[in-house]
Structure formats: C-alpha cells, structure tokens
C-alpha cells in the first residue's frame, strides 16, 4: 500500500531526525556540579562589607573556592597548578559567591556548602570522555583530579535545572533557555492573536462575500503570492515599516510577532479557503431557506464546519512561525540577550534563534545544548498544537 509506505517514509525521517537530536541532546539535560565546603573568610576575600558594591568589585571571590579545592589536593601549590585547579569550577563560581554574600551578608566568615557548576571542560570530560567527536582539553593532571573528585562524590551530575531557569549565557553550563521560551511565547501570542482572526476573516471574505471583480482577483493573487515570498523578505518589510517607519524598537517580541503574523496569514488564508470551499452548498441553502442572513450562515454553519481545516492551517502556520529564524535576523531578534523578557517590548530572542546561535558557537558544550533546545522547541510546539489538534478532532465530522 503506497499510503502506508508514504507515511512510513515520513515517519521514518521523523524518527531518524529525532533519534539524531535525542542522541545529541539528551546530555544537554544533564549538568555537572561540584559541591564544596567553602569558607567565606573575609580576610581571604579582602571583603568586610558584602553590601558595598565597591568592595565587592575589588574582592577576590576565587580565593575561598581555591582554598576549598586545595583541601582535597593539599600538594598543589605552584601558581600554574592553582590556576588549573581553579578551572574545575565554572567561570561564574566567584560570581555565585558574590551574589550569595550580597543577598545574605551574615554568611561572611561562615563555612557554606555550595554547589557550583563545574567548568565546561570538566563537564565535557565527565559526560563525553569516551565520545570521539568531543575533544577533551583537560590536562592529564586535571583529569586525575576530576576522577578523584568524582569518586568522592564532589563532582556529580544531575538534572540541568539551569537550562530552564535562566537566559542565555556564553558559558554552556550557565546557559539557559528560559529567555528564549518566554520570548517565543510572547512572539507567538502576538502572531496567533493577529494571524488567526485575520486569516479566517480574509478567507471568509474572499470565499463568501467578495464580489467577482478585479479587486477581488487582485487580493487573491496577492495572497497566493505572499505565501511564496521568502521569509527573509518579511524581515526586510519589518525593518523598513515597523522599525524605520513606525519607530518601533528593535529586537522586541511585538515586532517579531507582527512580522511572523504577516508571514503566517497567507498560510492560514489558503487553508481556510480550502476548508470553506468544502462545506457543501446544501448546508448554506438550508440555512438561507430559513431566513438566516449570509453572515449568520457563515458564522453559524460555514465557519464551524470549516474549523478543522482552519485549525490545520493555523497549526502548520504557527509551527512554521515558531521555527523561523531568517526574518528575525533583520529585526534584531537574533541577538545575545541574557535577561528573560518580561513584556512585549523587552528585548527578546526566540527558541529557533537560540538554537541557531548555540549551533554556531564554537564551544563544544553548546552542541548538546542546541540539540536539547530543539527538543524543548518541539515540546513547546507539541504542547502549543495539542490544544488545536484536540479542538480539531472534536470539531471534525463527516457528512
């Protein structure tokens, strides 16, 4: 049966893609931590008052970390070795201490058990020591240290909650996808809120109300044409119209959503029109025969009956918009943004852009993060579509 074969091919490609992504990405959900008993000694850090910003900027927060590490390896004392040892802990270890002290000044001069994120190279070693496509860049000695700390349970792996609680970072261990998730959510909200009603309204107008004339033809040709306009051109449009002409800010979900909405509308219109066309005329006649107005026929019968098809259009249109990068490039949403956006007018990026950025970063740790990001994106897409699919299933009927 050809149909089976076709589905099989399509599903097989999906499975291969998925297997590929999962095999690369599952480690992205694992973080490597290093837990140390840190003595927050004020002299060691040159810090008396953790609430004072100036003092903090002068303080040496690495010292207590190094001291804690040295407790495990007392024979380390050359400067070079010390530096290597400190490299066990990620780049923001000192920052972690600084923040903690800033928030709880009373911790000064106490000993705290702090869980640090391990340095990237440590993480790569721990997770991928036997994977030839990763380069291990720890020195022999460092590898020995890591092995020892792992045996002691100081270095450990766990679920990567950082990924879901932070914005982007240049250090893979610190990088999170929350900013992109929120950005995507905001952008998609704008896109959906505009493209779905507009798409349906336009489709209804063209199928049910439009007089047969040149204007209608013109509109129709335009819509079909817009579907074929490469997405990056919509980026140009967004740049020229929304940003330059209307003076909207760059990099914000509002503009991104608008651009993606313009891009999605033709998809929704075309599929909605197909769906409206397939509503049999006898239904329209029946309603009109009772004295329903054209608008009532449309609102009460045609749209509900065509809704499954309209939802399909929305689903694939939104899926496409959700995975789109190119137009966002031109309106500044392809950017390094650390802070999680809080509104439609905050700088933000979106999931595919985050994935794209990670995929083109040189650090090895980002490879798995990119794949993990893809999994997150797919999950996002599935949950976004689940509702529409459920609705569609409920609305569908054969007559």
């Amino acid at each position: 049966m050809y149909g089976m074969l076709a589905i099989f091919i399509a599903l097989a490609s999906l499975v291969i893609l998925f297997a590929d992504i999962v095999s690369k990405g599952h480690t992205g959900f694992v973080k490597t931590t290093i837990t140390l008993d840190v003595e927050l000694d004020s002299e060691l850090m040159y810090l008396d008052d953790p609430t004072d910003a100036d003092q903090r900027s002068m303080a040496d927060f690495n010292a207590p970390i190094l001291a804690a590490l040295q407790k495990h390896f007392p024979d380390v004392d050359s400067a070079a070795e010390k530096r290597e040892l400190l490299r066990m802990v990620g780049n923001y270890g000192a920052n972690t201490i600084s923040q903690r002290l800033k928030n709880n000044p009373e911790l000064l001069n106490t000993t705290q058990t702090i869980e640090f994120l391990a340095h990237d190279q440590v993480s790569v070693y721990v997770k991928h020591a036997d994977n030839p496509s990763y380069s291990i860049k720890l020195s022999e000695r460092q590898q020995g240290w890591v092995d020892e700390l792992m045996e002691k349970g100081i270095i450990d792996t766990g679920f990567n909650d950082v990924l879901f609680s932070r914005g982007d970072s240049r250090e893979p261990a610190n990088a999170g996808i929350l900013g992109a998730i929120v950005g995507s959510l905001l952008t998609m909200l704008v896109t959906l809120a505009i493209s779905f009603p507009v798409g349906i309204a336009a489709a209804v107008y063209l199928e049910e109300f439009a007089p047969q004339n040149k204007i209608t033809d013109f509109i129709e040709v335009n819509i079909n044409n817009l579907a074929a306009v490469p997405s990056i051109i919509f980026g140009l449009l967004g740049l020229a119209v929304f940003i330059s002409l209307f003076g909207m800010p760059r990099s914000v979900p509002l503009v991104g959503g608008l651009v993606l909405a313009l891009m999605t509308v033709p998809t929704i219109i075309i599929s909605s029109r197909a769906a409206i066309k397939s509503v049999p005329p006898s239904i329209r006649e029946a309603a009109e025969g009772i004295g329903a107005s054209k608008m009532q026929v449309v609102l009460h019968h045609v749209i509900p009956l065509a809704m499954p098809g309209m939802l399909t259009g929305a689903i694939i249109g939104m899926a496409q918009a959700l995975g789109e990068t190119a137009p966002l490039l031109l309106i500044g949403m392809v950017a390094f943004i650390v802070d999680v956006p809080e509104g439609f007018l905050d700088s933000a990026t979106v999931l595919p852009v985050q994935i794209y950025l990670w995929a083109s970063s040189s650090e090895q740790g980002f490879v798995e993060l990119a794949s993990a990001g893809i999994l997150v994106l797919l999950t996002f897409m599935i949950s976004m579509n689940a509702l529409a699919i459920w609705l569609r299933k409920r609305l569908e009927r054969r007559w």
């Binding site: 005329p281 006649e285 309603a287 329903a292």
Partner: protein
C-alpha cells in the same frame, strides 16, 4: 403584448415599476406552446404573490419561460409537471434561493405583498424569513435534531425562554409527525436519520419559524403513506393562515391538498386552474395527456 414589456433583469434597480405590471392575455391556445400563454385562471384578486413575465435561465439555457401567475393569500397551490420542467426553479424564485446559484439569472417582475422580491434594496433575509422553504433533497445541518429545529426560532428571536424554544421544537416535530421517533434522541446528530425522517425534520425546521408562505419541494417524496397523510393534514391545517406552494409528483396528493394546480411543461406554465378542474376537465391538451398518463 409581451414585446411591450421588455423583461427586466433582477439586478437592475426597479423602484416604481409597480404601476407598469401588464396583464397578459389569457386566451387559451391549444396545440403549440407559446411563451407566456397560460390557460385557466392564473390571476387572483389581492394576491400574495404577483408574478409577471418571469423568466429564469441557467447560463444560456432558459429553464423558465415568461411565466405570469398570481398566488392568492391562504391558498395551497400545487405545481405539477414532468421532471425537469422547471418547478423547483420557479419555486426557488419565490424566496430568491436562486441567488446562490452563480449562473442563474431571474428576469421579470415578482411581487410579494405588492413589494418587489428582486428589488436591489430588498432585505433577502427578511424575505426568506417570511417565505420559508423545504428543499427537494433533505438537507439537515450536521447538528443535533433539536438544534436543527431550534435554529430558525433562535435566529429570529421567536423564543424568549428556553422553555419557549422547547415548546416550539416539540410542536414543530409533532406537526411534522416526527416527535415520537425523535423525542428520545433529540441530541443525536440529524444526519444519522433515515431518509424519510430527514425529510420530516426539514419540514419541522421550516415550520418552526412560522413563515407566511411555505414553499415545499416534494415534501413527501420519501415518506410512507401514513407520514404523507400526516403532512397533508398539516398542509390543510396551515392553509387557514398560511400560503403554501407545493411541488409534487403525486397527482393524488395535489388533488387532496391543493386549491389550485399549476401544470408546467418544459419551462412553460401551461395551465392553472382549480385543482378539481385540472384533474377532471383539463383545458390544455398537454395537461390532459399528463394527468391521464398518455404523455411522452
């Protein structure tokens, strides 16, 4: 003469032409069909519908050829004639259901209560609310039985409360003789009913909005004799306050329910007369051959 009344397209603005309605000659002619010639009594005083020189074409093909006819208030008139002669087409002109067929063009003057049906400013919705229709092929909505019947009353605001609506639904279904079969499954989908049930449902749906005129295109074609009797009884009852136009193939049925009967032939209205007269003493030879089955 017809030539003096150039047929007027429905689309044109036709205000103030009321005065110009011509009265075509009603001398019977026997053998050859001539456009616009109708034997019998096509006209009535104080008609509900006043139809003059109506022609309908689908693209280039003319399906109705210059027909003039009055339909009186509270009358039941039956349209009979061989299949394809234009009964449905003519019927659909009366509430502008032909509008929805792109290629269909209606010409001539059609007046309901002295108002032009095809006037460009005419509110088609209001027209159809007044002139209800039951189609030849049953076309229930793919909704529940209840919703099918309740649809009309809902959009016309005929019920103030839910119970009103329930009453209307029950009443209509009862009148259409479907209540007993449907009462236990009001919530199940209407397209899952038998052919005859669907037909009765469509009748119930049409009468639920209490239109002034009901157009019925072969309402009993899928019905057994008992159900048919029921619908005929309904028609007779309704005739007291409504105007009813019914297309039927059953001459018995026409004889039973109709006051007048119109005989169509290839787009011509050949004869209109008291039902009695049509069936006992047809004036036109075509009518006669049709009712005696000597036709073709």
């Amino acid at each position: 003469m017809n030539t003096m009344n150039p047929s007027i397209t429905a689309e044109a603005d036709r205000q103030d032409q009321r005065a110009a309605i011509p009265v075509p000659q009603d001398k019977p002619e026997d053998t050859v069909l001539e456009e616009g010639k109708t034997v019998g009594t096509p006209f009535a005083d104080d008609p509900k519908f006043k139809l003059r020189n109506v022609s309908v074409s689908y693209g280039a093909a003319r399906a109705i050829k210059n027909i003039s006819l009055d339909i009186a208030r509270n009358e039941v008139i039956a349209f009979i004639g061989p299949s394809g002669c234009g009964k449905s087409t003519f019927l659909r002109c009366l509430n502008r259901m032909n509008d929805s067929i792109d290629i269909c063009r209606v010409e001539g003057q059609l007046m309901l209560d002295e108002e032009d049906i095809y006037h460009s400013k005419r509110d088609v919705v209001e027209l159809r609310a007044r002139v209800g229709m039951v189609f030849q092929k049953p076309n229930p909505f793919p909704k529940s039985i209840y919703d099918n019947v309740a649809y009309g009353p809902r959009i016309h605001g005929l019920a103030n409360r839910k119970t009103d609506l329930d009453d209307i639904v029950e009443n209509s279904l009862r009148k259409a003789g479907l209540w007993d079969e449907a009462k236990d499954r009001l919530d199940s989908i209407a397209t899952g009913m038998s052919g005859g049930q669907q037909q009765r449902l469509c009748i119930a749906r049409a009468i639920a909005v209490s239109p002034e005129v009901i157009l019925m295109d072969e309402p009993c074609s899928a019905l057994d004799p008992i159900a048919t009797a029921r619908i005929e009884e309904l028609i007779s009852n309704m005739a007291e306050s409504y105007t009813i136009v019914i297309v039927t193939h059953s001459m018995q049925q026409a004889a039973r329910v109709a006051h007048r009967t119109a005989y169509f032939h290839l787009g011509h209205l050949v004869e209109v007369n008291e039902t009695n007269k049509v069936f006992t003493a047809p004036e036109h030879e075509l009518t006669e051959s049709y009712i005696t089955g000597r036709f073709g």
